[in-house]
Each structure stands twice: as C-alpha cells, then as structure tokens.
C-alpha cells in the first residue's frame, strides 16, 4: 500500500516534465523526420493534405545542392578552426589562473567571463562596428603595427575568420571555468612527487596535467563542437551569410529554406543531416578517448 503510493507520487512528480518532453520534443523530432521525406512547402502550410511523401528526394537534392556543400564547408571550417582555438585559449587561461603566483583570481575570472554572459546578438552588432573597415577600432589599432586596413566582413576570405575571432573572444570564458574545476580535481601530491624527481614544468604539464584533465577535455570538446555546429546568430546579424555565401552556415541555410521560403520538407532534411553529423563526430570523439586511454 505504502509502496504503491510512493510510486504513484514519483510518476506525479515526473509527469509534467515527461509530458512536456514527449509533446514538445519527442513528437517534433519524429515529425521532423517524417517531414524530411515530404515536399512540405508553403501550400502545405495552409493545408497539411498538400504535403506528399517523396521518399529520399530531399536528401538526394541536398547532396546535389552547391549551397548545402558551401554551408557544410563553412560550418566545418568554423568548428575545426574555431573549436580547438577557443579550447586552447580556455585551457591557457585556466592554467594561468590556477598558478599559485596569481592573486585577484576572482577578478580576472569575472572579467574573462563577461563576454560569455552577454547577449550574442548585441555582441555581434558591437563587433560588426569594431570590424568596420573605415571607422572600426580594430583596423585603427592594427594600423599602429603597420597592418593595412582589412575589410573584415566584406571580404570572403576574412569574413569567417573574423567571426571565429569574435566567437573565441565571446566563448573562451565558459570552458575556462570547466577547466579550472578540472584542474582543482587533480591531486596535489602528483605534482609534489614530480617535483621531488626534478621534472620540468613542461613535463609535468604533459605527463600529469593533460592526462588527468582528459575527461574534462573530452566533455569540453563535445559541448564546444555541438555548440559550434549550430552557428547562426553571428552570420545572421553580421554578414547575412555573405559575402558570396562565405559565412552561410548549415543552420542559417536551414532557417532560410524553412522559415523564409517555407520549404519545410527540405529544411527538415537539412536539420537531420546536421543532427547526424553532430552524432557521428561525438561518437568519434568518445571512441578516440576510449582508445587512447587503453
């Protein structure tokens, strides 16, 4: 009697969350999968009956679509260049802030964390002006070391690197905090033992810090990568995907197809391709982690 009550109370506590996840997450995921096999478009929006099953047609067309390959290339560039760069900066900042020589740690941590909490759209607008080729403060400051003005966001070669630079500035504080927590969990006596044997700083870093930090690093890699694959607001605000589609990301392309042109079937297929890519890359990272540990 008591036990049954207990169990029904558990289900009562769970039901709002489970219902919400079921209705507003699981059903949409399945519906999106179905949708990706249809030609759902602006006419179907008015009358669902107009949508027809077309099998894998959307996926076939996506693989023939130069804009998709462009957006995939740009997104991979952003993930592969921006992800490791921002993780490296985070780790460096965490190591510096974990040094016993440093005081005012709380202050520095707070300052480095500032960009993380601020609104991405506001920050993107801010950096759009910082990158302004004529009046922007970046070109002005670079002028002092003899760099000629660069049209950061107007040049297809520079636009994505400029967005990466801003993303690193905006995001590194988050992973820095996770790394600091990871560093605190490394037992102090490991370093003391190494000191007794006269190990160099670099050797201690390579043989103690990095291996002990591996689980933290894996976690950071996965969340950073998942986040970076979802690049959207920066190009939407700063470049509208241009110039010459050099900053068109998968999510921006998906948004345009789905919510500007209402090609929702096509857009759903794009979303699933993004999901599958994220899934594969996460699994590879987990695999690599497991194998290097053995």
């Amino acid at each position: 009697m008591d036990k049954r009550n207990k169990i029904s109370a558990a289900y009562l506590f769970l039901s709002p969350a489970l219902l919400a996840i079921f209705i507003f997450f699981l059903i949409p995921v399945l519906a999106a999968l179905l949708m990706s096999f249809t030609d759902f478009d602006i006419y179907s929006l008015g009358n669902l009956g107009y949508a027809r099953f077309i099998g894998l047609q959307n996926y076939i067309e996506i693989f023939k679509d130069p804009l998709f390959w462009q957006s995939l290339k740009n997104t991979l560039y952003f993930v592969v260049a921006g992800g490791p760069l921002s993780i490296a900066v985070s780790l460096t900042a965490a190591l510096l802030l974990s040094s016993k020589l440093v005081k005012y740690k709380g202050f520095f941590r707070l300052v480095y964390f500032m960009p993380v909490v601020t609104t991405l759209v506001a920050v993107s607008i801010l950096w759009k002006f910082i990158y302004n080729p004529r009046f922007g403060i970046l070109n002005y400051l670079l002028g002092f070391i003899g760099v000629h003005p660069i049209d950061w966001l107007g040049n297809p070669q520079w636009a994505l690197p400029a967005i990466i630079l801003m993303a690193v500035w905006k995001n590194f504080g988050y992973n820095m905090i996770i790394f600091i927590a990871g560093l605190q969990n490394i037992p102090e006596d490991l370093y003391e033992a190494a000191n007794l044997e006269g190990a160099s700083e670099w050797n201690k870093f390579k043989n103690i810090t990095l291996p002990m930090l591996a689980p933290t690093t894996l976690f950071v890699c996965i969340i950073t990568m998942i986040g970076y694959f979802q690049l959207f607001a920066e190009p939407y605000v700063m470049t509208q995907g241009g110039p010459l589609n050099s900053t068109l990301s998968i999510v921006l392309y998906m948004y345009r197809e789905g919510f500007m042109w209402w090609n929702m079937g096509y857009s759903a297929a794009l979303a699933f391709i993004l999901f599958i890519i994220i899934l594969i890359v996460s699994l590879i990272q987990l695999r690599v982690q497991r194998e290097t540990n053995l």
Binding site: P16, A17, V29, R134, T216, M254
Partner: protein, 269 residues
C-alpha cells in the same frame, strides 16, 4: 620575473575582454555620427543621452524590454517548478525503469534543438500561439539539463531527512514543497540564472515565433533594427547596452551560483 610576465598576460587579456564593452558604452553616449569618424574616438566629446531618448521615445524599446522580461521570467519560474519535481523523483524515488528512463532523457541532449523547430512551429501555429508569450514559454518549460542538475544535487542529500519527515506523517507534496525545495535552494538559484540568461539571450527561436513587431524580444528587435540603422552606430550601441544590462546585473550579483553551476555540470557531466 615570471610573476611579472604572468600578470602582464592576464592584464592584457583582461583589457582585450573589456575594451569592446567600454567602446560600446562610450559610443552609445555620442551624438549622431560621432562614432563614424577616423581616427576613432574612444570617448565622447560631450556625453549625450540622445540615443537612449530615441530608443525610448520612438523605437518602442520599452515594449521589447517588457517582452524579454515576461518570457525570461515565465520560462524560469515554470521550468524551475517542472524540473525540480522531475529531478526530485529521479533522485529520491525508486521505480521500474528509472535508470533507463534517466539515461534515455540524457541521450536526448545530443539532438540539436533545430531538429524540433519546424514541427514545433507548425504545432504552435495550429494552436494559434505564434506571436504569443506561450510560443517561447511552452517549449522552454523543461530541459533535460535542468532535471539532471537538480537530480545530481539532491542525490547528495541524505535520505534519512526525507524518511524522518515521512514518519512524521508528511505527504509527498508537503515534503517536496517544505523540505526538498528549501534544501535545494542553491541549485535552484543556479538553474534560475542559467535559464533566465539563456532565454534572455536566445535568438533563433524568438526570431521564428515572434514575427509581429510588438512581440519582438530585445535580440530580435536589435537584429531587425540593424537592418534599417546600419550606419547609426551610436543608436545601435545604445540598444545593445540596454539589451545586455539586465544579464550583466544578474550575473554580477549572483556570479558565485552561476560559476558553481558550470563546474557542477562540467565535472559530473
């Protein structure tokens, strides 16, 4: 020597983090066109609040601000309630399939939100909820991350406390409200800050479901404004300042909870 090098790196990095914000505030206090000159000015000749006046009197920013407050507070309050109940059930009740159910929920975190957006939009459209606060509040009412965070926290609380209350004859809901929630206060504050900030800063979903000017949240309004005011640097900077002030204030006043939350999610995740 080593110490001096360390500090100079840290200080330069701190300056690089702050300069954009200093310039943002400074430009927002300049008269029209004063931020578009060469060489750039780092400080206004004469401080003016004309950009803010423009935002408040002609650009409806009070309305956008209000919208952002309503959805952010709405999502925070409701999701806190829903997530804490679920987190409590996972932490302190034993039922069939509990472990597997929790694992299943965790595995959902790998699915990017974009996958759900198209059907969710249609659902809300047929329910007549596009351009209403519910369009943001309903899908935000629970997150697996939130459930996870609360479960982890409550696992560390001794069962004996709850058993004692039960022996005293307290009902399940009474225990949840008057024992568990007060005990979980630190993690609830953490989750509240996370949720508030994420909702305040969110862009893609509000952009999709708030298509009517009067329903824009601040980020959507800003992104829209830059289309028309591409050259009005000073005005756009003022809009950006108004947008980030609330999150910066929330963060500065409650930063300990926020940073602890990241560490908790990071170390145990």
């Amino acid at each position: 020597m080593k110490k001096a090098l360390l500090y100079s790196i840290l200080i330069i990095a701190a300056i690089l983090c702050l300069i954009p914000f200093v310039w943002m505030i400074s430009a927002s206090l300049m008269a029209n066109g004063h931020a578009n000159v060469y060489p750039p000015r780092f400080l206004p000749d004469k401080i003016t609040f004309i950009q803010y006046e423009h935002l408040f009197s002609r650009l409806n920013i009070v309305r956008y601000f209000f919208n952002s407050v309503v959805v952010s507070v709405g999502v925070t309050v409701i999701s806190l309630l829903v997530n804490s109940m679920a987190g409590y059930a996972f932490a302190k009740y034993r039922f069939a399939g509990e472990k597997n159910l929790f694992k299943l929920l965790l595995s959902f975190m790998i699915i990017p939100a974009q996958v759900t957006m198209l059907p969710l939009f249609l659902m809300l459209k047929y329910m007549g909820l596009i351009n209403s606060y519910f369009a943001i509040i309903i899908p935000g009412m629970t997150t697996v991350f939130g459930i996870f965070l609360i479960r982890q926290y409550l696992l560390a609380i001794p069962d004996s406390l709850i058993e004692a209350a039960k022996i005293d004859g307290a009902s399940d809901f009474r225990i949840y409200f008057s024992l568990v929630l007060p005990l979980a206060k630190p993690i609830l504050i953490t989750l509240a800050i996370f949720t508030f900030m994420a909702t305040w800063n969110d862009f893609l979903w509000p952009l999709i479901v708030m298509t009517n000017d009067s329903m824009y949240t601040l980020p959507v309004a800003l992104a829209n404004l830059i289309g028309e005011h591409n050259q009005d640097t000073e005005l756009m900077m003022a809009g950006s300042v108004v947008t980030i002030i609330p999150v910066v204030l929330v963060f500065l006043s409650l930063q300990k909870y926020y940073i602890k939350g990241i560490m908790l999610g990071g170390v145990k995740g």
